[in-house]
Amino acid sequence: MMLIPCPWCGPRAQIEFTYGGDATVKQPAHDAPEAAWTEYVYLRDNPAGPHEELWHHSAGCRQWFRLRRDTRTHAMLSSTRPAEPGGERC
């Protein structure tokens, strides 16, 4: 059971989290062509090695964060808070 470092709560057991998908894909612009949206919705890389992911601390602080994890060894390389909304609040 992986030990996942939540940026707010510290390392917690995997069972408290929900996997939220690939963090390297960004929602295209609303008027981007269909091909861009198809790629965003369906296509994913599957790297054997460091992977940027989104995780939700669903049974904890309920925040979303980015985790860099090695998919082969499950080593936790880094976890970061997403961009702060508005910039004023912390």
């Binding site: 059971m1 369906y42 989104l54 979303w64």
Partner: protein
């Protein structure tokens, strides 16, 4: 009753002052506290304890530990009976009852032994060949029955497990797995630095294979040193000792799972005590002092009862004071077997010969010299080519330089080398390397968090193991030396061992077993290689080598070494198979612990639940929630009740508990914009005090969920979702706001549990409401889709409420939301106010009937993860004026094809019942393949229309108005003619909603 004729008169770590009575296959025997079932059987001279898996050959006790491949017994009877229990690890208790397995009618005379006559037809993987010929299904089903009956060994219990199991979580600085001398040295070193240490061992006594050992540690006898160390650790408040505890699996993040057997050594657990406890330990560092397993040598008939591992024979003598035979022959290619020879000799067993494959010049170790000094006959450069006997070893053929001779004996002790127990190390991602010198796979350092020590690290000699354990204990706390020095034992010279995996057979029919548990022979390994199964993983699966409960502990390395020979590769090139938990079998009950029965998942109840139960409602599951199905009156079936309730809603008025719907409050400056993006329709046009139906799509354009969202004020909204999607939608909204659109100022809060809700529906709903709410609910003041706050008069007094005029039933209806703890009071107020108007409570079944009559979709039925808004007739809801999730992929050609399955209504003709889960076809008698034109998504008897109706998805459905097709259910052999019409059977203009 047998009287332990093979018990040595003195010595052993057993309590001779007490006797324990036990029974094996109906034979009553005695043993002593400290015995295992195996040692007690041997003390009573019982060697034949099992029949092998496939060939039903007679088998005896092979080892003294968890690596036992042969002596699997059925333990206890009734609800506590357990199959495939290793007799070598069962702690003997008074009244123990055990039976042999896999034999009929008896162990001594087993009809299954006839398999041996067909052995040539039953090599490894024979059942795969049955797929090839005869290949008719009938033939295969014929012999499949025999294969199935022959498979397996013991029998599972047929009654529920009467015991309870517990889970425990804890953290520590150092977890030491294995309490032999190595583990004790490691724990001692780590604990002395003040670290929190947990030390576990699978035995009830710490000491491992050194229990009863005659060597000295730090100047005292090994037993005394170990006992003293254990006492010192026990007295340390930062140390937790876990005997009878097997660490069975290593997982990510240095989590180790352990099974503590609290009561398996007793006939039943004491009151209020779980039988076993599953520990999940998160350790900063783990020291694996897990020891090593001795290996087989594959020579002809190496499986006769009376054949055992040399180290096991030594343990039976030293620890259990048992003579495993009267005349012993040892077969080895290394020094460790000489210790066994000396032990057996000192216990009065005649040592007929020590057959050593090495040259005389290589037999130079301390132990070998002691053996020579004791006059034990050593045959160097010799091998055993075959054993003879029926139900017990009688003689052995030994090939020496000078020729072959036959030596009579009743005990063969074999030592094919040692394999470090690297299971947990490998599970923790540790890499192994093959060491030719000791012919074993050793741990290569993986990380500082997991360290192997002692025999598990290839340090087999006691002095090396103690030093290695001490160093590992220090390394685990990040130190290289402290004031405490490592414990010391006498250093012995150990001669190099020679890898010896098998001895060629002289007769073709002779069986040379590699995996005793699954009856896999050396011939099977070469057969697999010949058939192209040259990868070690394929060898395992094709031959089943290493797949039994022992997971090949005594056989895996021998098997892969033979595969290397057969395929001309080196042993490291062949490699090992993947190690997976559990290390030894874990009983099923330990995994759920107390989360079983109704505790598998939490059950969620509305605050009106007790009222429903008191009224005799049956309940259905909606996700984790319990919802009332209907409220049958005495003599009424649940379906009759539901029909009565549904009819009453349209004639008078009904009330249904809708507390389980997901509720999410959204507040902030940008809520309308947020709703615009997540729903298909527009929300910036919704005024305060109004609500609206909303439809959400997935990113691929398929319908995800629906609900209604109300605007309570300029910046305060309340969203409802379906019951089963509440959690998913909430998670999605949080993600969108935190990751994708952090610039929107919106705060979301789940309030599903905070509000209880009921829907009052029917032509007389206004009359009922007017009696209990304090606002004007006339059509002018509170029109269709109005929302507002009010107070409800209840027995609790005036309680604040939210009133929403929306309708799921298609009748005049209001949803009342109150703080959850007032739910029952509100419900009872509605019931009392509704009595003069014929109000009846209704459940999910009637609610379903009403919504089918109106054609309202349900997520999971019509919105089944494949349908678009347009398929469901809701295409017009998708606003062209703005973007929403799913919009970009909605224009794909496949989602706009004309023959897509579209939502329609079906009416059953000819007074017939609508079959369950029916498919739509044009001609039910058409030969297969019969093209399916659609399927029914929801169906019911309509008490308001007196006919069976359904909602269905039919190809090009909207163009088929008036067509008659067939709804068929091949499984139920039912068919009915149906007429297609619009998916709304009552009041299509929605006039009843707006009165």
């Amino acid at each position: 009753m047998l009287t332990q004729p093979f018990r040595v008169a003195s010595g052993g770590v057993i309590d001779r002052s007490r006797q324990l009575a036990f029974e094996f296959d109906g034979v009553r025997c005695n043993g002593h506290p400290g015995d295992t079932l195996a040692s007690a059987l041997l003390a009573n001279g019982i060697h034949l304890v099992a029949r092998s898996f496939k060939y039903h050959r007679p088998r005896g006790i092979f080892s003294a530990g968890c690596e036992e491949p042969n002596a699997l017994v059925q333990l206890a009877m009734g609800p506590r009976t357990e199959p495939n229990v290793r007799a070598t690890t069962v702690e003997l208790y008074d009244g123990l009852v055990a039976a042999s397995q896999n034999r009929w009618p008896s162990l001594g005379f087993d009809v299954g032994a006839l398999n041996g006559a067909f052995a040539r037809l039953l090599p490894a993987g024979f059942y795969y060949k049955t797929f090839m010929w005869p290949s008719t299904p009938k033939a295969w089903l014929g012999y499949e029955r025999f294969i199935r009956a022959a498979a397996g060994m013991g029998r599972a219990a047929t009654e529920p497990d009467p015991d309870t199991y517990e889970h425990q979580y804890t953290h520590c600085d150092v977890l030491v797995v294995g309490g032999g001398p190595t583990g004790l040295a490691a724990a001692r070193a780590a604990a002395a630095t003040g670290a929190r240490v947990i030390l576990c061992d699978e035995g009830h006594r710490f000491g491992g294979r050194s229990i009863g050992e005659i060597a000295a540690i730090d100047g005292v006898g090994a037993d005394a040193w170990m006992e003293g160390t254990v006492q010192a650790l026990a007295a340390n408040p930062d140390v937790t000792l876990l005997p009878r505890t097997t660490a069975f699996g290593s997982y990510d993040g240095n989590m180790v799972a352990l099974l503590e057997r609290l009561a398996d050594h007793l006939p039943s657990p004491p009151p209020h005590t779980p039988r076993q406890r599953l520990w999940k330990i998160r350790a900063r560092a783990v020291v694996l002092a897990t020891g090593a397993h001795e290996r087989v040598i594959a020579y002809a008939n190496n499986d006769l009862p009376g054949t055992m591992l040399a180290g096991a024979a030594k343990t039976y003598v030293q620890r259990y004071a048992v003579r495993p035979g009267t005349r012993v022959l040892l077969f080895t290619s290394g020094d460790s077997a000489y210790a066994a020879a000396l032990s057996l000799h000192s216990a009065g067993v005649a040592v007929e010969a020590i057959v050593d494959a090495r040259a005389e010049a290589g037999i130079v170790g301390t132990l070998a010299q002691s053996a020579r000094a004791a006059g034990l006959p050593i045959l160097s450069e010799s091998v055993v080519v075959g054993a003879h006997g029926g139900k017990r070893v009688a003689a052995v053929d030994v090939a020496t330089r000078g020729g072959t001779r036959r030596i009579e004996c009743d005990l063969i002790c074999v030592s094919g080398g040692w394999s470090p127990a690297v299971h947990l190390f490998s599970q923790a991602q540790g890499k192994l390397r093959y060491d030719e010198r000791i012919a074993a796979f050793l741990p290569q350092t993986s990380s500082s968090a997991v360290v192997a020590a002692g025999a598990a690290n290839g340090r087999f000699a006691l002095s090396d193991a103690l030093a290695d354990g001490h160093a590992a204990g220090l390394a685990a706390v990040g130190k290289s030396a402290t004031a405490l020095s490592a414990p010391r034992a006498e250093i012995e010279t150990v001669g190099a061992s020679r890898a010896l995996w098998s001895v060629p057979a002289r007769k073709r029919s002779a069986k040379r077993f590699v995996d005793l548990q699954d009856d896999v022979t050396a011939e099977d390994v070469t057969l697999a290689a010949r058939e192209g199964y040259t990868s070690v993983e394929h060898l395992k699966r094709y031959t089943t080598l290493g797949m039994g409960p022992d997971q090949g502990k005594t056989s895996n390395v021998v098997g892969l070494a033979l595969l290397a020979e057969a395929t001309g590769r080196s042993i490291p090139e062949v490699g090992t198979t993947t190690f997976r938990p559990p290390y030894t079998p874990v009983t099923m009950g330990a995994f759920p612990g107390q989360d079983c029965g109704k505790h598998v998942e939490p059950t969620r109840y509305s605050t009106m639940h007790d009222w429903h139960a008191e009224r005799g409602a049956g309940f259905v599951n909606a996700g984790l929630w319990k919802r009332p199905h209907s409220y049958p009156r005495p003599g009424e079936s649940p379906d009759d009740a539901a029909n009565r309730e549904a009819k009453n809603v349209r004639e008078n008025v009904g009330v249904v508990d809708v507390s389980t719907l997901g509720k999410i409050e959204l507040q902030g400056r940008d809520v309308a914009e947020f709703l615009n993006r997540v729903y298909v329709n527009r929300w910036d046009t919704l005024a305060a005090g109004r609500c609206r139906y909303g439809l959400m799509l997935r990113e691929d354009g398929i319908v995800l969920d629906d609900g209604t969202t109300s605007r309570l004020s300029d910046t305060h909204y309340l969203m409802t979702t379906t019951t089963v999607n509440a959690v998913r939608v909430m998670q999605q909204l949080e993600r969108l706001l935190l990751i994708d659109w952090p610039d929107l100022e919106v705060y979301v809060t789940s309030v599903t549990e905070q509000w209880a809700a009921a829907a009052v529906s029917g032509p007389k709903a206004r009359d009922v409401l007017a009696r209990i709410v304090d606002i004007d609910v006339s059509n002018a003041a509170f029109p269709f889709l109005a929302v507002g706050e009010c107070q409800v008069r209840t027995a609790d007094g005036l309680i604040p409420a939210r009133l929403l005029r929306m309708s799921y039933s298609g009748e005049l209806a209001y949803e009342i939301h109150v703080p959850a703890n007032h739910g029952r009071a509100m419900w009872e107020a509605v019931m009392a106010a509704g009595e003069p108007f014929g109000l009846m409570p209704y459940g999910t079944e009637a609610m379903g009937t009403l919504r089918i009559e109106k054609g309202h979709i349900v997520v999971g039925a019509e919105a089944d993860g494949r349908t678009t808004a347009d398929d469901l007739g809701l295409g017009k809801l998708v606003s062209p004026a703005k973007w929403c999730i799913g919009k970009p992929l909605l224009d794909r050609a496949a989602l706009k094809a004309a023959d897509r399955w579209q939502l329609v209504g079906l009416t059953a003709l000819d007074g017939a019942n609508m079959p369950r889960a029916a498919k739509i076809v044009a001609d039910p008698d058409r030969a297969l393949p019969n093209p399916m034109l659609g399927h029914v998504t929801s169906w019911c008897w309509s008490p308001n229309l007196n006919v069976w109706i359904a909602l269905a998805l039919v190809a090009g459905g909207r163009e088929r108005d008036g067509e008659v097709l067939w709804a068929v259910s091949p499984l139920a052999n039912a068919r009915v003619r149906v007429r297609i019409g619009p998916p709304c059977f009552i009041d299509p203009q929605g006039e009843r909603l707006r009165v």
